[in-house]
């Protein structure tokens, strides 16, 4: 039993900290890709693609002109008028954490509040191309600390499940966006670069952004192939940020939320990402759980070749839309009380 408002705040707290981390990872792809272009004035398409992949093109267009390194960094990192900027996300995280302090372990609170306090120490010179890696590393480290505190200190009860659910829903969407950056970058240049050096490094940048460069080599023991990179990021259950991993975690936590109090028959936490989700049965009346199962099922029954036939960008757009719709279903079913 949990107050609906508490569940809502746990969910958004986790979503927004994950979003902050994802925006940091997206910026990291943009930064790596733009550094591959010899003339920085020529890198606007890399920064444009970053804005588009972050889903911030509308808010950016309102306040800025041509994307450059500095205005993109400004907009995505610290502009509080952009609700998805890293600093705006952190403010939302803290606001939600304050609203549910009583549901948080001391360590989770420390992680959130400490991050907030530190966020105020950054200075103008840190929001430049040179300073950016330090800021991004800090965001990733702090987000990891939050995730660690959550996993290691929270009671396995409803409040925790809601936070994990928010985290994995957000991550599912953002992993798709990160893969999609590559599409946005290619678009203006046309297919002539495909297979070239640039192509190779760009796919490398995508992997680097999700800390999966080494993972690729462990899994495939081969040079970077676009098809394989996409497969790893979308369909491989071993990669914790793959769309399939995220989708199966979402199903798992939705099943917990739809299920009974802990100890009443639900399986242990799904730490093993390899196999199909352990089924928690008997809750098929939950519409959001059914929706989550069908998203997961679709990923388990397709192949990367088929995805490329449909078109990678179209596939990713569909996926993001269905995850968004699932988020709406979840709120309707549980959170609006």
């Amino acid at each position: 039993m949990l107050l609906s408002r508490t569940a809502d705040s746990m969910y958004w707290m986790a979503r927004y900290i994950e979003r902050a981390e994802s925006v940091a990872r997206l910026l990291d792809v943009g930064r790596r890709m733009s550094s591959l272009v010899p003339d920085p004035d020529d890198a606007s398409s890399e920064w444009t693609s970053t804005i588009e992949a972050a889903g911030c093109e509308a808010s950016f267009a309102e306040t800025h002109g041509t994307p450059t390194a500095s205005n993109v960094i400004d907009h995505l990192v610290r502009d509080v008028r952009n609700p998805s900027s890293i600093f705006a996300c952190l403010a939302t995280v803290r606001q939600n954490a304050r609203a549910v302090r009583t549901a948080l372990s001391q360590d989770v609170w420390d992680a959130v509040n400490g991050m907030w306090i530190e966020s105020q120490e950054w200075r103008d010179e840190d929001f430049t191309v040179e300073g950016l890696p330090r800021v991004l590393d800090w965001v990733k480290e702090r987000s990891q600390r939050f995730g660690g505190a959550l996993a290691n200190t929270m009671l396995r009860r409803e409040a925790y499940w809601w936070a994990r659910l928010g985290m994995f829903l957000e991550r599912a969407e953002n992993s798709a966006r990160i893969v999609d950056v590559k599409y946005h970058v290619l678009l203006p240049r046309g297919p002539s670069d495909v297979g070239g050096h640039l192509d190779y490094y760009q796919w490398g940048a995508v992997l680097g952004a999700v800390s999966a460069f080494r993972a690729y080599h462990w899994v495939y023991r081969d040079r970077l192939e676009p098809l394989r990179v996409a497969e790893l990021m979308i369909l491989r259950p071993e990669l914790p940020r793959s769309l399939l991993s995220c989708a199966s975690q979402v199903t798992y936590y939705l099943a917990r939320v739809a299920g009974s109090e802990p100890g009443a028959g639900a399986g242990e936490e799904d730490d093993e990402l390899g196999g199909p989700t352990k089924t928690v049965t008997g809750h098929d009346r939950s519409p959001s759980l059914s929706a989550a199962r069908s998203i997961e099922h679709a990923l388990r029954t397709t192949t990367i070749e088929r995805i490329f036939e449909i078109g990678l960008h179209e596939f990713l757009t569909d996926f993001v839309e269905s995850v968004n719709a699932l988020g709406v279903d979840v709120r309707r079913e549980y959170l609006l009380g």
Partner: protein, 481 residues
Amino acid sequence: MPSRPYDEMRGDGQHVRHLYGRVAAWLDATPSSLLARRRAEAEFIFRRTGITFAVYSDGGDPDRLIPFDIIPRLIDADEWDLLHRGLTQRVRALNAFLADAYGPREFIRAGHIPEALVTRNPAFVPFMNGFPVPGGSHVHVSGIDIVRTGPSQFHVLEDNCRTPSGVAYMLEDREVMMRLFPELFRTHRVRPISHYPEELLRTLQSVAPPNCPGDPVVVLLTPGQYNSAYYEHSFLADEMGIELVEGADLVVRDGVVHMRTTRGLRRVDVIYRRLDDAYLDPLAFRPDSVLGVPGLMAAYRAGNVTIANAPGTGVADDKAVYCHVPDMIRFFLGELPILQNVPTWQCARPDDLAYVLDNLADLVVKDVQGSGGYGMLVGPHATAATREDFAGRIRATPDRYIAQPTLALSTCPTFVDDGVAPRHVDLRPYVLGGGSGDPGSIDVRIVPGGLTRVALPEGSLVVNSSQGGGTKDTWVMEREA
């Protein structure tokens, strides 16, 4: 200013009191630089924990820290014994007065207090007329502000019977002190206070409503995270292991209060509200309140839920009603008051009004409905022009004002910019009043001590946190064997 203030460490003279012997030795042995470092550490802990006092009006810092002084304030066993007995007596009398004011009104009929002061009081809630509150307790939590003027002279400065705050600071100040100065706790036998939330929960459980179906479900109702005391609300809910709810989390169905959960509605039996009366229920009070719960008061009167403190307790802490508390003690309990009031002139009385206007330069004048140190005149510290202006206001609405002599509040050693120096203090003990059935003998629990507030500027007598006051840890000592 009257005579030199009493210093709680040095007494009236230059000799350190036995009680403070080890603290004085510690202060002598500790360089200012170390004290400054410890104070910085304390601030870091407060900020880290998020123990902030938000002032959202006039562009205030939403994360302001209340200054914390690291030198403890000590109270010996005999002093506490006196305070404990006096507080118990006083709160029982206040509670009996409330039961009477919303019941037979014998105190009024016996001529002890003007009827208008009670029933026309802005804090009087007619809705409560003739309603016997669960367990006989109206005042489940009160904060009684005590000032000291001499070795055994304690006075009650004011009673706070609505939603007094500050208890989280009392508890956190102790936590921080134990962390920073473990050696002081090894050499002092300080009575613990950390069981306050447990005592509070027991008090709230003791007033379950008549129709409560089983173990009472207790919740804490907060106005939300933009309230200045929000940290305290979340802290107490957490320590008691109860839900922290906002108005929108509660809904009344068929006269029963429920909270909205992910598994549907759950019944609520006792609400410890940290919301003013006017905002509790838009159907009964302010129709524009979005903080409250429509139908709450009807559920209360139907015996389906208990509201703590009971609505309408503000009539007992009105500064004009305050003058009558010693009478209440005699009338309802048949006892002599253990703790004295500060002498008070009521401007509503013509003789008192004349005296007050003639002696403004020596008096403190307070608005009877004011709180937090706002709307008051400290005569000796005011300019002639300010006094003249205030005199005009008093003449216009004399009923609104009372006056008291400028008390020489006791001082305690305090760490300020130029080292350790005496500063004026007061004390707010938190008194819990549980149900017993009889309003005149409610079950009183008080954890030893309370919140010591200290006026940090030299010579200042205003201890309110909204006016720059700080806090100290308060140590009630075990009786020496």
